[in-house]
Structure formats: C-alpha cells, structure tokens
C-alpha cells in the first residue's frame, strides 16, 4: 500500500505495450473478434417442461468490445426481435472484453474514459428499461435480467439500470475507478471537479433506475471516497468513513501511503476503488444470485422446471453488426488508398477526365455508405480519421468533383 500510483501506472503501461506487441504479431488486431457461442442463424429453441406453461426466455450475450460490438443500433434491432417473440424474461449476459477502440486493458486497470461512454449507456438503458416498462409496444412486459461475468469499463454502468442482476462465480464488475484523477493536471481543479461531479451524477442516475444504493457507485468510481459497511440482519448499513465493520474503500491517499500498490492491484486486493465480484455483489445486495450455467440461472430465476429458450436472433444480430463494423473499417482504409490511386488515363481527354471523376465519386460514395451505417461504432484509429469529420469532407469532395465536371470543357 505504500507504493505510489506512478509505479502502478508504469507497470500498467509496460504491460499494455507488451500486450500490444503480442496483438500486432498475430492476426489483424482490428478485425480479430472472438467467436460467439451461438449459431449465426439464431438460437435453437429449447423447451423444458410443458410448452403451454413454460416461461419464455430470450437470451442476449454481450461479448467483444462494448460500444463497438454492442451499440444502440444493433441493440434496438435485438429488442425488436425480442418483442416479436414476447418473452417472459430477457437475459443479457455480459462477458465483454475490457477494450476501448481496440485497445485492450487488463482487468485490474481502471479506465478513466469509461465515463465517456455514459451517453451510449444512457440511451441503451432506455431500451432495456423505460421502453419495456412504459412503452405501449411491449404489450407483455418481460422481466429484464442482467447476468454479469465480465463488465469492466463503460459497460459496467448498464446492468445497474435493471433491478435483477446475477453474477458468475468469477465475475468482475467495475473498472470505472479513479474518476478523481480525471483530467488531472489540466486546467483548474474546480472545473475538473465539475466534470467529475456531472459524470458521477449521471452514473448514480443509471443505478437509481435499478434501485441500487449510490454508495456503491461512488465507491466504484472515486479513489478518494471512503466507504465501510456493517451488516444488520444481513443488510448493509453504510458509513462514509472507516467506522463500519468492513472497510470497502479507503481514501487512496498517495501521500499517506494508502494508494493501492501494484502487488495489491494485480491480485484484486486493493481498496482504492470497489470492483464487484460475486461475493461482494451478493453481500452488498446487488446480486440476486451466483450462477455459472444457463440451468443454474434458470433455477435462480425460478423457472428451471418449466421454461423455453426462445430462438432469438440476438447473438447473430450483434455478431453481424460487429463483423460489419470491422469489414467497414477495412473497406474504408482500402477505399481511401484506391482514391489516392485514381489517375486520369491517357490521353487525358474529356472522356478520360470524366471517367476518373466518376471513379473517384463512386469510391467516395462507397466510403460514405460505410461511414454513415457504422458511424456510432467505428474506431477512429482504425480509419485514421474522425468519422463525422470524414463524412463532411467526403460530401464536400463529391461537391467539388461535380463542380470540376461542370467547369470542364470538351
């Protein structure tokens, strides 16, 4: 506990570089994506018990990188698919890679940028809460259940929007810590605190939808937040100091030697910020149960003897989206190269000039199509451009080509 954050940061940076090198040595890091455990065509229906009485379960699995493989457009399609099948229960299993824009983080690292995904989480939370609870389109209101295996970074906020969360025994839920270091060294402290305050306020807002205590989110988010807990009748009582029976998070004060050491961090023994595991999620009243298989989950949901897993298309919709994003990024890079290579063929008369312009315009239109379709998920690093800016540039280039064509004389 006496070592400084600098040591931890240095260690993390070295490890990240090693990981990056490994990734580059392998296949195309941008397009590599773990296979989903489902059939692309959709889940096979599976019935246990009496079909007429069976609880209908719609399963969704979040894998890959949240924000890229799971974003608002495919998730909207998934929920439309679910609605058609009228399930009694919708289960979202979260087992995402801890990544952002293709860059992997190790599970014990904090991701200060996770709060930047808050807008996407807030929008997605509407799909899995308000739309169902209050929307007329959902005539039958299913139970919404999150099942967390690995929810680190921005995706960690989403399960808190729902009232029912289950965990696997090896679950990790967090990676949103050290908000109090956000923008460290930039500008004035009062403005940095404002930025932290609004982000924490919105994160607490999401968890309030699910009915979770704001102490938990604060302890997950800020290293300088002290939280201890006592239990009365099995229920947690919170103390924003060290007076509780168990200290969950200290103030992480570097000068006082309370900042987590590397040795503690990599072994998940640190107490600067809270990362929920199955045990603590249960003790703190977040988890409804620990389940490692579908059957265990259905048992915990009270439908083990009589349920039907619906043949939903969720996993294939998300898989196709993720693949589309990767293919789109590669295509945009290829098209940019092709655009640079377009030449006016000899003898460079009007016909050849016109043909070259036509080719350039066709390439730009293809790029525009990929960009507009996948804008929300595209990794700017992968296409070496900011998607909205590139869209604007392309539109202007097309206009310029049209102008050149008008000016050109036979």
């Amino acid at each position: 506990m006496r070592n400084t954050m600098r040591r931890l940061a240095g260690f993390i940076a070295a490890g990240a570089a090693a990981l990056a090198a490994t990734a580059l040595a392998g296949a195309d890091a941008q397009s590599a994506r773990p296979a989903r455990p489902d059939q692309p065509a959709g889940k096979q229906a599976k019935l246990v018990g009496d079909a007429a009485e069976a609880a209908k379960i719609y399963m969704i699995t979040f894998t890959g990188e949240y924000g890229r493989d799971e974003s608002i457009t495919p998730m909207r399609r998934v929920m439309e698919d679910a609605r058609k099948l009228q399930p009694d229960i919708i289960v979202v299993k979260v087992d995402c890679e801890f990544k952002k824009f293709g860059k992997e983080k190790r599970d014990f690292e904090p991701d200060l940028g996770s709060f930047d995904q808050m807008e996407s989480v807030r929008q997605m939370a509407v799909l899995v809460t308000d739309d169902i609870d209050f929307g007329a389109e959902w005539a039958k209101k299913p139970r919404m259940v999150f099942w967390v295996k690995k929810a680190l970074g921005g995706v960690a906020f989403l399960p808190f929007a729902c009232k029912e969360i289950y965990y696997t025994s090896d679950a990790k839920h967090g990676g949103i810590g050290y908000l109090d270091l956000l923008f460290d060294g930039v500008g004035d402290e009062v403005v940095r605190e404002k930025q932290r305050s609004l982000r924490l306020g919105r994160a607490i807002g999401i968890s309030a939808k699910g009915g979770y205590d704001d102490h938990i989110i604060k302890a997950m988010a800020r290293a300088d937040y002290v939280l201890s807990v006592s239990f009365e009748g099995g229920k947690p009582t919170w103390h924003e100091d060290e007076s509780g029976d168990i200290l969950l998070t200290d103030d992480g004060n570097k000068e006082a030697g309370r900042r987590d050491t590397v040795e503690d961090a990599v072994r998940y023994r640190g107490n600067d910020v809270l990362t929920l595991d199955a045990e603590w999620a249960s003790r703190l009243g977040v988890s409804r149960g620990t389940c490692n298989t579908d059957e265990e989950l259905f048992f915990a949901l009270g439908v083990a003897r009589n349920h039907e897993v619906l043949p939903g298309k969720a996993d294939s919709i998300l898989h196709e989206w993720g693949k589309g994003v990767s293919d789109g990024e590669l295509a945009i890079k290829r098209l940019r190269r092709e655009l640079r290579e377009v030449r006016v063929k000899p003898p460079a008369e009007y016909a050849e000039r016109t043909a070259a312009r036509g080719r350039r315009k066709a390439i730009l239109k293809q790029m525009l199509e990929f960009l507009t379709r996948y804008e929300e998920s595209i990794n700017p690093d992968a296409i070496e451009a900011n998607p909205p800016n590139l869209i604007q540039q392309i539109k202007l280039q097309i206009d310029q080509i049209d102008q050149e064509q008008r000016r050109d004389k036979r």
Binding site: I72, T73, R76, E119, S120, R122, Q123, M124, A125, V126, L127, D130, D131, D133, F134, F183, V186, G187, D188, E189, V190, V191, R192, E193, K194, Q195, R196, S197, L198, L200, G201, R202, I204, G205, I206, A208, K209, D214, E240, E376, P388, Q392, K395, L396, D399, Q400, Q403, R406, R407
Partner: protein, 454 residues
C-alpha cells in the same frame, strides 16, 4: 475555406456583442408592499411562495431584495404591468394563493390560462411537456440519436418564447420543462430566466422535470419554483469554464454567482444550493450540509459541514441525485412518466389531459434544425463560396444565373437557420470566422449575388 476567409474578411462586420449577463429591463413602475410595522415599500415582487415573498426595493438608492413572511405583510398592491399575480396554484394550495394581496388589487397583465371543467364541474388541467434538450429516448431513432443538447445552440430561450402562443391557443394550463442537457452558453441564462419568469410563470404553472440538468441546463430553469425528477434524474455541476478547463474568475465569476443568487430568490430556494454547485477548491469552498426538522420536515441549509447531512464536501462540486433532490425538498417528487408527473403535480385524483403538441413539436423541431445547422453550416458555406467563385468565372449568363441560383439556395438555408434560432447568428458566425451572420451580413451577400448577374 481559405478562399472563403478572404471573402468574408472583405465583409467583416463589427457587431457589438450583446451583454452576456443582461438581467432584464428595469421597472418603471412599482408594487407597494404594506408591512405590519407600518412601512410601505415600493419595489417589485421577485418571487413568492406559500407564506413568503422576496421583495426588491431601494434603500438610499441601493437596491436590495428581502424575504418577508406572510406574517409581516398586511397588503400588497401590485403593479399589473410589471408583476402580475402568479397564475397557477401549486399542489395543495389550489384555493389559497400565496402572499398575493387581495384579488381586486392584483390584476394580472397576462391572463392566466383557465383550466376547463369536466362534466362534474371538476377542474381539468392541461399539461404540456416541452423538451429542454433531447431526451435519452431519442437515442433509438437514427434521425435524432446524434442531436446535441447545448444551451444556446440547440436549446434556445427564443424557441420557448415562440411556443407560448401555441400553448395558449391549445388551452394549456401547466407546462413541464423536461430537461436533459449537459449545459452550454452562459449567455443564454438571462434570456431563459426572463422568458420563464416573465412569460411562462404568469401564464402557466411551469415546472422543471429533470432527466439530467448539468451546468447551464440546471441554471437556466433555476427560476422555477417547482422541480420534479425522473428516477435517474441529476442536477448540478454548474461551474463556469472555458478553453482547456479554465475556470471563470474575478468579476465575471461574481456576476454569475450574483445572477444565480437572484435566480434562487425567484425560484424561492436557498442560494447556498446553487453556490455549492458552482464553486469549490481553487475558487473558494462552498460545502453544503443540511438539517431536516424531525417535526415539520423543513430543511435548513448550511454552507459548511455542520449540518446533520453532508451533501457536498468542501473540495467537490454538487450534483443532486433524484433521491437527494426529493429528500431535501429541492424537488417535489420523482416521476418516471408523464402520467406520474401529472399525478405528482395535480394530485392522485385530479383530472388532467396532455396538450401543447404543436408547441412541443415546434421546440423539438427547432432543436433538431439548430443541430443540423451547427453541424452543416461549414459545409453549406463552402458550397456557397464555391458557387460564387464559379459564377464569377463563368461568361455564359444562363450558366452564371444557374450558379447564382444555387448560391442563393445555400444563403437562404443559412438565413432560415438564423431566423429560426437567432443564437445561431453568432454560433455559425464563429464557425466560419465572422462576427455574426446577422441581417447586415445577409444584405451584403444578397447584394453580391445581384452584382454577379449584372
């Protein structure tokens, strides 16, 4: 863009910047407040609630605002033009006006909307919900997903003001301003304070309904007395800043702090709350704690840590959660749906209906169009300049005419955006490197297009 800069340099127009912190016109006439101690004060009612009133008056030429309880007051004579009677009652006091004086002395300049009655004679409220920023539910629609929520760009006081006749025509009696925004320009605060205080509140019972009200989005509706929260609601983080997280300081900071103290008075709430949302750390500490009276439930605020409940430590900026907001009586209730909101506002058994669709659509379309304008202005300007250049280089008159026609279309597009949302004159002007896309700028450009056809 370089070519355009050259073009606009020629037509650069110096426009005096509007005062950011304008707090409204001074009052020519006055209300008269008769106190039990015999004094009669001349001034204006700033805000009033159930059993209290903030009254602004001059002492020795210095203006001050003082809180009076109904026990201090014998009579209030209102000046009808400057200070009409609040129109709509708040929950639980439908028949009991606040400290408003006798009805015959209190003639509103603006006729408040009268609720219609149902068949059994019960009052039927008509509630409109106006979006102050795109709700998160817009995210699922690709057409509205990316609409930004900047106060002073997408969210404008002028749109709210323009919506008033539509609300009145529809017989709306109450308006909920549904807030979801991460903030924006301080220059819009005074405009919103004026519109909400002077135009909305006298006409409609106007409440805030908060999904997320951050910074300018919290400060703009602060003059409203009534707030409700969505379950995920949050409001606060009002520190003014610019550039790379540089804080406002000096006199500019003091002006905003004073403006929000004034807004707090108009909203009938303790100014310590807003101060705690605005400053801390290197700009002076503003911790916030509170006591709740176990008998009355009244909340007493402390700008230190001495209260029973610590809401904001000294080194942090306050953002209220929904639960806090209600517990400490900043907000009246948590409401997840419009129906919940209506029940919370009017009572469980009250009759109500939703209205104001045209006004809501108008405010929404203004937001969407302003967003389009902000994102596409540069594209439109570049195309405009290209057409002008091409026209100037074209000898064929018919061809030139066609190009000038296209240029005019782009110019009219810019003009339409600025007319619909006057804030865009400066916002778009800044984007393309001129002071403002104001009337004069458009006149000069129209002239340029005419000259091209000579």
């Amino acid at each position: 863009m370089q070519q355009y800069t050259k073009l606009v340099r020629v037509f650069l127009i110096a426009v005096a910047a509007a005062s950011i912190f304008c707090l409204g016109a001074s009052m020519a006439r006055a209300d008269k407040l008769h106190l039990k101690d015999g004094r009669v004060l001349e001034g204006t009612v700033e805000s009033e609630g159930d059993g209290f009133m903030y009254f602004k008056y001059k002492v020795g030429g210095i203006e001050q605002s003082t809180l009076f309880s109904s026990a201090d007051i014998t009579k209030l004579e209102r000046d009808s033009a400057t200070n009409p009677v609040p129109s709509a009652p708040t929950p639980g006091k439908a028949d009991k006006p606040a400290v408003t004086g006798k009805a015959e002395e209190s003639k509103p300049a603006v006729a408040a909307a009268k609720p219609k009655a149902s068949k059994d004679g019960k009052r039927v409220e008509r509630l409109a919900i106006l979006n102050f920023g795109p709700p998160s539910s817009w995210g699922k629609d690709p057409r509205t997903r990316e609409v930004e929520s900047t106060v002073g760009v997408q969210i404008s006081a002028s749109a709210f003001k323009n919506a008033i006749p539509m609300l009145e025509k529809d017989g709306v009696t109450a308006v909920a301003v549904r807030i979801n925004s991460g903030g924006g320009y301080l220059s819009e605060l005074a405009k919103f304070h004026e519109v909400l205080q002077n135009d909305f509140k006298p006409r409609f019972r106007t409440v805030g309904w908060v999904e997320s009200a951050i910074s300018a989005a919290a400060m703009s509706p602060w003059v409203l007395e009534e707030f409700y929260m969505l379950p995920e609601g949050n409001i606060g983080a009002c520190t003014g800043w610019y550039g790379r997280l540089q804080a406002m300081k000096g006199i500019e900071l003091e002006v905003v702090l004073a403006m929000m103290e004034d807004a707090s008075r108009k909203g009938g709430r303790d100014p310590k709350i807003m101060r705690s949302m605005q400053i801390c750390c290197d700009r002076g500490e503003a911790p916030l704690s509170a006591d709740i009276d176990p008998v009355t439930g009244d909340v007493t605020w402390h700008q230190d840590v001495s209260g029973q409940f610590l809401l904001n430590p000294p080194n942090q900026i306050l953002t209220f959660t929904a639960e806090q907001a209600v517990k400490f009586k900043f907000a009246k209730a948590i409401a997840a749906t419009p129906e919940d909101l209506a029940h919370a506002m009017f009572g469980e058994h009250a009759e109500f209906e939703f209205g104001g669709k045209d006004a809501a659509d108008y405010v929404d379309s203004n937001m969407i169009e302003s967003d389009t304008a902000e994102k596409h202005a540069i594209e439109v300007v570049i195309k405009y300049v290209r057409r002008i250049e091409e026209a100037a280089a074209t000898q064929d008159r018919a061809e030139r005419g066609a190009l000038v026609g296209q240029a005019r279309t782009f110019l009219h597009q810019l003009k339409r955006w600025c007319e619909k949302n006057p804030n865009l004159e400066q916002v778009l002007g800044n984007k393309i490197g001129v002071e403002a896309l104001d009337k004069e700028w458009f006149q000069i450009e129209e002239e340029r297009l005419k000259n091209l056809m000579k």
